[in-house]
Structures are given as structure tokens and as C-alpha cells.
Amino acid sequence: MNSESIINPKYDLSQYEKISEKYEKDPLAYLEQYYTKYFLIDSNENTSEDFYIYQAPNKLCVIGLAPTHPLLQQSQKVKSIKFDEKISQSINKKKQNPLSVKSEICVITTEEGRNYSIKAGIVGWVINFNMRLDKDDDLLQKKPFTNGYLAIIKPKQDVPSKALNHCIDEEKYKEIRKLNI
């Protein structure tokens, strides 16, 4: 490396051609750089209240609404998002019992009066609720896969195959939900 490029670095764009191509097709493709995507399919055959779980390399999991969730499928207006208060208060406190997969962490109520229950989805501890959803009503439905995430959960299990063995990967999810995006 010569001294000029040490002060003023040059970047070889040919190295990034492929990744750019991918990004152009899907602007959200960058998420794959930072997370492994998993999906949690609704166990009730008649509804499709599905969730995504993005796992970061440090094992933390971001949970949010999957594209097939009714809140993103039908035009329903969100009236309120209520995070569980008890969990809220326990964040950052030590020696909490972990939540189970079915523990309710949040309830979303629509203008029509429908309630959607959001579950923890994995055994672990909530370490952050996305409080921006409170301030910005549209965020959840406008940017559900990025800024509109619901919570960050620290799994009890360190090994991803154990922590997330009830979840499926993106390919399987698309297959089950017959999506071809």
C-alpha cells in the first residue's frame, strides 16, 4: 500500500459488485449481513400470526411481525401497542426467570377493537422493547422488518440450534406460506 492510499484510501468496487446487485433487488438484503433470519409460524392453522426472529452473531434475537402477519396483510389501523409492564420493569434487573415461548410480551389493539397477542417466541429475557413504536403509530406497519421491530430478546440457550429449534428458516417459511418474493 503506498503512502497516498494510506491517507486517502481507495476502494475496489469490483469486490462489491455482487453484493450491490443483491441489494438493488432487495434493499433489505443488507439485514442478512448482520442477522440470521428465522420464522415462527402460527400454530393455529386458521390464522397466520407469524413472526420473524433475527439472530445477531452475539446471539441476541430481534423479534417482529412476519410479512404474513394479519396486521401487515390487511389494512387495519393500529390503535395501541401495549408492552407488558411487568416485563418492562424487569429489564436490566438481574436474576429474572426466563420467559417461555408462549409468554405474552405485548398486545396490539386495532381501531376495529381486535387484539393481537405478541409472544416472546423464544425462551429468554427481553432486554429491550422498541419504545419508538409508542411515539410513531405508523412505524410498525411502514417498516416492520427494520425500525418497526418489537423487542430484543436474549435467549437462555447459547446454542442457536437449541434456542431456535422450534423456528424455521426463510426458505421453509416461504414454502409453507406459498410466498415467492
Partner: protein, 560 residues
């Protein structure tokens, strides 16, 4: 991680050879400036004696101690001779002086008929196994300047090949000497009392003082070093005496000593504590002579075993070398990156530089400290990042700038495509805080290759460049990437300057100057909206970072 430590165990590798040749055992190191003139020495010693003892008690002391076959040097201690050069004289001369002292009348003009020797003189001068072992020093003081006493230190020093000019000495003497010295004092007081003499032994010289001086001078002479109490090179040696190791336990049988041992569990092991030298000395001070005599041997029994030593520890205190590094690779980490025993990056800056420094300084180990850090896939360019190495126990601590320059060249040549260093120089311990300050307070300049979801236009570039001379504040929630170890909170950070240059299509380069502690990657991709505003917000699109380089850490380093 387990760093390679070639020299770590070599203290133990040195064979503990006791001198086999009897004559070597007693062979003394001769100092150049020792006065062997008896007349001069005698008057010198008598000065101290007259100062310390008003009546003729000193004669009783000399006689009593010769009776129990104390070595001449220890008798000098009980006489309170503070001039340690006097101790360096040969045993023959010392005994001659002692014999003269015991026969001394107020007027010393009497003839040579009085040159009668104490009956112990001959046996004390014997250089065979018959020589009784001094009960107060176990022959440590007697042998302080002999080859036998020096041997372990010389061996150790030479095998480590220490390149030093000075040394400091710390010695730890057998705990049995404390009890025995006390016992002798009690014995002297008792003897004097029987003869109706009053005696004050408070001017007795502690065994350690003349011992350290004699041993120190011998080391000076034999190794060609200077004995200097502030020397960074320390020779530390612990002596023990097997037979008397437990002697202080008699104190537990003397109630007035208030000497209690405590059993403490450390990692499941029961260990007795409370028997430190200070505790023993403090306990002895509380005991009346009558109590002591009833339990302890007074005078102490003659012993057949002499002193022994644990392997000495020769150690140079840490030295520091500082400089700046450039990291050219996106594959190597700053410090060794090992998780659960698995190496995640082949090598590291710390190892690239440290292993060569280890060879040069011949140190046990090193610690690498830098002003901040960059991720594995981030390069450190520009004027480099300040760093220093703490060099532990260097065998070769004196590096001249010329040698450091050569070392720098060698490092740069060896790791041409990974690391380049500059300004390699010796620094002092006081300089180290500057690095910490650099990590926490100094501005950093970055260059980033950025992809945005829009085609880069001149409008976009202009939009960014309006911040070229206009600082703004972003609020960063702890990035998800580090949230598992860093507390969740919002940290406001200043972006001092931001400018962009268009590349092809979706690519641009971004140059940023930010406050210390700003997370650049998160500022660009937004971290799921946790950094506000982020580059995507400012341009109303998605953004991601392809490559990041640090261009400047704004810190004057090394200090000179």
C-alpha cells in the same frame, strides 16, 4: 490465551548446586576497600562499643557469646557496631579484635601477656565441618560473602543473561533467626543479672542489615553491578532453616505472647496464618524474659544444619515502549481473538509487534494497550493508532533509539502486508495515562465505503457535504451488536464533520470526523432505527457500510 513464554520457568530449571568443594564454601569475596589494619579497626569498633555500653558489660557479652560459639560477626551485632565495612574483614581479624575487647582494661597499656585467647577461638576459626554453626544466623552472616552464598544468584543471573547495570536486593531470613536472636538477648540479660550488671541491648544490629550489605557488596564485586536501592532490577532471595522453621510455634504456649494462629480456607485448602515475621516480632516484645525462659531453649541449642535457600528470583520491573500502528489487513484483529479456545483471526496486531519485541527485550511476557480499537474488518490507516507495550521482566532492558529503529524496521518488513509501525520509542510509566485519554476523549476520523439504495447524484453528495463544516448530534442506543455486554442506554455523540465523494451507481465514500466512542457502522445502517438520525434518515433511503477505515486518532503520541 496462553502466550508462549520461553523464559517463564527457567528459575526452576537452574540446578541448585551446593558447593561441593569445602574450600569453595568458605572462600570469601574480597572487597577492595576493606581495612584489615587491626589497630584502626579496633578503635573504630570500640567507638561504637563505648557509645552503647557505659560499663564493662560488653566484656560479659563477648565472653558469653563466645562461650556459646556465636560467629564473630553476630557478636559485632550485639555490640552495636553500625559500620558494616567492619564486618567484611576476615574471621581471624574479627576474632582478634573480640579477644582484645574481652581483655580490655580501662587502661590498655599492659603488655602482651594479656593476649590470652578465648577457648572457642580455635574451633571458630576451623574451616572444616567441625566449626560450630552460629545459632543466631545459622551461618548466614558468617557466610554472607562466600561463594556458597553467592552461587545461586550468580548461576541464575548468568543463565538469564540479564543485561543490567544496577540491582536492588531483597532478602528474607529464616524465621528461626528471630526466635534465636531473642533467645540470645534473654540469655545475655540473664547472665548479666547474675553478675549484677545492668544491660541494654536496644542497640543490637538486626541480622538483616550487615547481611544485606555483605551480600550486596559481594554481588557488586562478582557480577560487576552497582547496588542501588532504587534499581529496577531486583534480586530477591529467601533463606530457610529446616530445623528451626517451626520454632516460633512455642509462642502459642506462652499466654503473654497473645500469639494466635488462624486457620483460613483458601480454595478449599486449610492454611495457617498469623505467623508472619512482624507478628512473631510483635509477640516476642510482649513476653517477659521469665516466661520465655520457662518454655524456650535459652541459650538456643547448637544445630547441625546450616541455612538453605529457595531458588532466587531475579526480576526486572516492567518497561514501556510506545508507538503508532497502521493496520493494513481486514483479516487480523487488534488483540488475539479467541473464543472458547477457537482462533477467529489468524494473528493480531498485538502478536505481530509483541513477538518481535519479546525476542529483542527477552521478556517473560508483554501486554498490549492501544488508544481505542477497531473491528477485525476495519483498517487503521493515516498516521496510525497510538499504542504501548508493557514489557514484563526484560532480560535486555536497555534499548537505544537506534536499536528501536532497527526493531521497527524488522517488524515492518516481517509484517509488510498486515502491520506498519512508526515512532517506536521508550516511554515512561507516567506517559501511560495519555493513551487512556486518547481512547475516551479524542476525535477520530474515518473513511467509509457506503452503499445507498438510491443512485448517487450530486444532490445527494451536496446534501451530505452541507455537514462538512457543520457539526450535528446523533443519539445512539447501545448497538445490538454489543448489547450483550454493554448497558442499554442512549449516548449522544457529535459528528464534527461529514463529507462525501460519489463513486459509481449506488456507492459513495464518506469521510467522518466524530467524537470518541461513536459507532460508525450503526450511524450508517441505522441499527434498526436505534441510531437517530442515521445516514439513511438524512438521505431518505436505505444505507449500508461496505468497508470502514480509521484515518486519524487525534492524539499526540508518543509524548516526545
Amino acid at each position: 490465551m496462553s502466550k508462549k513464554r520461553f523464559w517463564e520457568n527457567d528459575h526452576e530449571l537452574i540446578p541448585q548446586i551446593r558447593v561441593s568443594n569445602e574450600s569453595d564454601r568458605w572462600k570469601r569475596v574480597r572487597y577492595d576497600d576493606v581495612n584489615e589494619d587491626i589497630e584502626v579497626l579496633y578503635s573504630n569498633v570500640m567507638q561504637y562499643v563505648m557509645e552503647n555500653y557505659i560499663n564493662l558489660t560488653y566484656r560479659t557479652i563477648v565472653d558469653t557469646l563466645l562461650d556459646i560459639k556465636c560467629c564473630a560477626r553476630c557478636i559485632f551485632r550485639f555490640l552495636g557496631v553500625r559500620d558494616y565495612k567492619c564486618y567484611a574483614t576476615s574471621e581471624e581479624v574479627l576474632l582478634k579484635i573480640l579477644n582484645r575487647i574481652r581483655l580490655n582494661e580501662e587502661n590498655i597499656t599492659t603488655s602482651s601477656t594479656l593476649q590470652e585467647e578465648h577457648p572457642s577461638t580455635n574451633i571458630l576459626l576451623s574451616k572444616t565441618q567441625e566449626k560450630p554453626i552460629c545459632t543466631t544466623c545459622f551461618d548466614l552472616l558468617y557466610q554472607a560473602d562466600t561463594i556458597e552464598c553467592l552461587w545461586p544468584i550468580i548461576e541464575n543471573f548468568n543463565s538469564h543473561n540479564f543485561q543490567v547495570k544496577t540491582f536492588n536486593l531483597s532478602v528474607s531470613l529464616p524465621s528461626g533467626t528471630i526466635i534465636n536472636n531473642h533467645s540470645i538477648k534473654v540469655y545475655i540479660r540473664q547472665t548479666c543479672r547474675e553478675r549484677n550488671l545492668s544491660v541494654d541491648l536496644s542497640n543490637t544490629i538486626d541480622l538483616k542489615d550487615p547481611f544485606k550489605h555483605l551480600l550486596g557488596w559481594s554481588i557488586e564485586k562478582k557480577l560487576g553491578l552497582k547496588y542501588y536501592y532504587q534499581s529496577p532490577f531486583n534480586i530477591s532471595i529467601e533463606y530457610y532453616h529446616k530445623n528451626s522453621q517451626q520454632n516460633h510455634l512455642i509462642l502459642t504456649h506462652i499466654p503473654s505472647a497473645e500469639f494466635q494462629l488462624k486457620k483460613v480456607r483458601i480454595k478449599g485448602k486449610a492454611i495457617w496464618t498469623g505467623d508472619s515475621r512482624q507478628n512473631i516480632i510483635a509477640a516476642l516484645e510482649k513476653v517477659p524474659d521469665s516466661d520465655f525462659i520457662s518454655i524456650a531453649k535459652c541459650p538456643p541449642l547448637e544445630d547441625k544444619e546450616r541455612w538453605e535457600n529457595y531458588p532466587p528470583i531475579l526480576e526486572h520491573s516492567a518497561i514501556y515502549v510506545g508507538g503508532r500502528y497502521i493496520k493494513l489487513s481486514r483479516e487480523i484483529s487488534q488483540s488475539p481473538w479467541i473464543i472458547n479456545g477457537e482462533r477467529l483471526a489468524e494473528t493480531s496486531i498485538a502478536e505481530c509487534i509483541g513477538e518481535i519485541l519479546r525476542e529483542k527485550f527477552k521478556c517473560d511476557d508483554y501486554n498490549f494497550v492501544a488508544a481505542g480499537r477497531e473491528d477485525v474488518n476495519v483498517r487503521m490507516l493515516g498516521n496510525g493508532r497510538p499504542f504501548y507495550f508493557e514489557i514484563m521482566n526484560p532480560r535486555n532492558p536497555f534499548f537505544f533509539q537506534q536499536e528501536l529503529d532497527n526493531t521497527q524496521k524488522e517488524i515492518n518488513k516481517t509484517h509488510k502486508n498486515l502491520v506498519q509501525i512508526s515512532h517506536l520509542t521508550m516511554i515512561t510509566e507516567q506517559d501511560l495515562v495519555i493513551i487512556k485519554e486518547g481512547e475516551e476523549t479524542k476525535r477520530k476520523t474515518y473513511s467509509a465505503l457506503v452503499w445507498i439504495s438510491k443512485i448517487v447524484t450530486s444532490e445527494i453528495i451536496d446534501k451530505i457535504n452541507q455537514y462538512q463544516d457543520k457539526e450535528f448530534i446523533i443519539e445512539q442506543q447501545t448497538p445490538i451488536r454489543v448489547l450483550q455486554r454493554r448497558t442499554q442506554m442512549v449516548r449522544p455523540k457529535i459528528i464534527y464533520s461529514m463529507k462525501a465523494k460519489a463513486l459509481e451507481n449506488h456507492f459513495l465514500t464518506l469521510q467522518l470526523q466524530t467524537e470518541a466512542g461513536t459507532y460508525i457502522k450503526e450511524f450508517i445502517h441505522g441499527d434498526l432505527g436505534r441510531t437517530k438520525p442515521n445516514l439513511g434518515d438524512l438521505l431518505d433511503c436505505y444505507a449500508d457500510i461496505m468497508a470502514l477505515d480509521v484515518l486519524e486518532v487525534d492524539l499526540k503520541w508518543p509524548p516526545n
